[in-house]
Symmetry: C2
Subunit: 316 residues, 2 copies
């Protein structure tokens, strides 16, 4: 069985693109003309919601699956639409996999003991049923929050190890108030987020794959390039999921600092700048919103690859 890291590396090499497509499909993000048509087509509210979200995601996936290796649905945007939203999430996961894209679920889950095991079974592993086990959501990776310590992380590592999946632990997030608690200074001069990163590396040592990566990835925002560069060295066995490119102010060069010398080890997320790219392409009819996403994805790929080349992190 290949590890998540090995599958991610393969997918990035195939698409020549270390980007992940954030699938955060609020109804407001769908071109108004289409949404109005679908409202007429589906008079049932729940069906309208589910089909609208799935159609939007499905077009995006079909449009970019050959040039983007992974999707990252943020679970909040599906939970906010209740059961029809979660049905759309289930179908979106299936569509992404059918199109050979990896699925990183952004849920920032966290709990302890048997509850953390329940989350791990839910999203990465399998659930015990009376006569067999079943993988309900079956994502490839999940974001998690480590505030509860190793008790809260170990069950996710176990599920990841057993099923070839991965996790991304929050280290330094991209938002302005990340500093509130993550930057608190300890008696030995370290910051809280640095301890989290060092602890991830310590935990990783028992789970190293052939490629030197463990299933324990990390989230480090592109908006704090100085900290991010330091984190790349500390998180020596981790893939880094990088939010904050584009809209939040992170540049391609900021992101490039999070890659290893061999050009692996980071994957850069873009959500709204990709899924709402049609707002910038008024030449395209509403039906072709996904073509705008493809154009923007190609632009972002060039932007990232150029930044990597400038730092000599990419082969010709």
């Amino acid at each position: 069985m290949l590890s998540f890291s090995e599958r991610l590396t393969e997918a990035i090499q195939r698409t020549k693109n270390p980007t992940v497509l954030g699938l955060d499909p609020k109804l407001e993000y769908i071109p108004k003309k289409l949404l109005q048509q679908w409202q007429i087509e589906f008079s049932d509210r729940d069906q309208f919601i589910e089909e609208s979200l799935v159609r939007f995601n499905s077009s995006l996936i079909e449009s970019v699956h050959d040039i983007i290796p992974a999707v990252k649905p943020q679970i909040a945007y599906y939970e906010m639409y209740g059961l029809p939203g979660l049905k759309a999430l289930e179908r979106t996961i299936g569509l992404a996999k059918e199109n050979n894209m990896l699925v990183i679920l952004d849920g920032k889950r966290n709990d302890i003991g048997s509850t953390a095991s329940a989350y791990a079974a839910a999203w990465l592993g399998k659930t015990d049923l009376p006569e067999r086990q079943y993988a309900f959501w079956d994502a490839d990776a999940l974001t998690v929050n480590a505030y509860l310590g190793i008790d809260g992380i170990k069950p996710f590592i176990d599920a990841a190890q057993e099923h070839g999946k991965g996790l991304f632990v929050l280290v330094r997030t991209s938002n302005p108030s990340a500093a509130d608690f993550q930057d608190l200074e300890l008696t030995d001069g370290r910051r809280v987020y640095e301890v989290v990163a060092e602890t991830i590396t310590k935990w990783s040592k028992d789970y190293l794959g052939h490629d030197g990566y463990s299933p324990l990835g990390a989230v480090v925002g592109a908006t704090w390039p100085e900290q991010a560069e330091k984190m790349r060295h500390v998180l020596e066995h981790s893939w880094i999921l990088v939010p904050g490119y584009g809209a939040q102010g992170g540049t391609a060069d900021d992101c490039a600092k999070q890659f290893k010398k061999d050009g692996t080890g980071a994957i850069v997320n873009a959500s709204r700048s990709l899924i709402c790219a049609y707002n910038k392409h008024s030449d395209l009819p509403a039906e072709e919103f996904a073509e705008a996403t493809r154009r923007e994805a190609l632009r972002m790929r060039d932007d990232l690859n150029n930044a990597l080349k400038e730092r000599n992190l990419l082969d010709a």
Copy 2:
């Protein structure tokens, strides 16, 4: 509109019980005889899961609604059963409300900006649909994780304020490895969890209700009574949700330390010791598992009230 704090106070006074029933219904927790009957009754897997979870929860709610003021479904235990599990969660929330119980969802959600807003809309507030707003899950309170700072908490406060709901922020959890990050010592001698608690009190000042409580509650485990006593003083405007009673080793007196002098301000969770109480009552037939829960709930109520009386925190 009454605040969450006011509604919680009323419910605790009505039931004379500061307990919350943790509804974490794994199929393994259902009496085997019943589960086997239901497997025969429902040949469809998804229907079997949904109906089993709902029947189990429904019996428990009906059995204790007059002596327990609130339920706390842990979302992980529903997500692990996929869509049928989440359908059971939706029905469970409805059943608890019909029976006049408050619903505290334990989801430990966390994110930033528009994503935190999406979670807040999902679980506490309302979601924008093209022609109106709709409250999909409509819980009374939600547990949240503050690692991302105020950006990640403010949207939940806003939803709570607007809809008379509450939140409980993780401060000091009940598990052994809580110390990994929560106890890190800062340059000024404080611990990380103390800063989180002080920050909650600072944030609370702008949202105080008539009773002196803000919608910002806190989670402080019963397993660390020394820290908990200190936290009660720091968290002056917060209700405290107390996990760790019973199975995890917290005593009634440990819990009593988390109440204010007027006997308000804390609510003690018990999950497995209540929902699996039938394991200790072999005199009852399997069908009457909920009667065992009622007996254990009455015992726990007496235990807590005696501890409160001994500390002079309860009127006669």
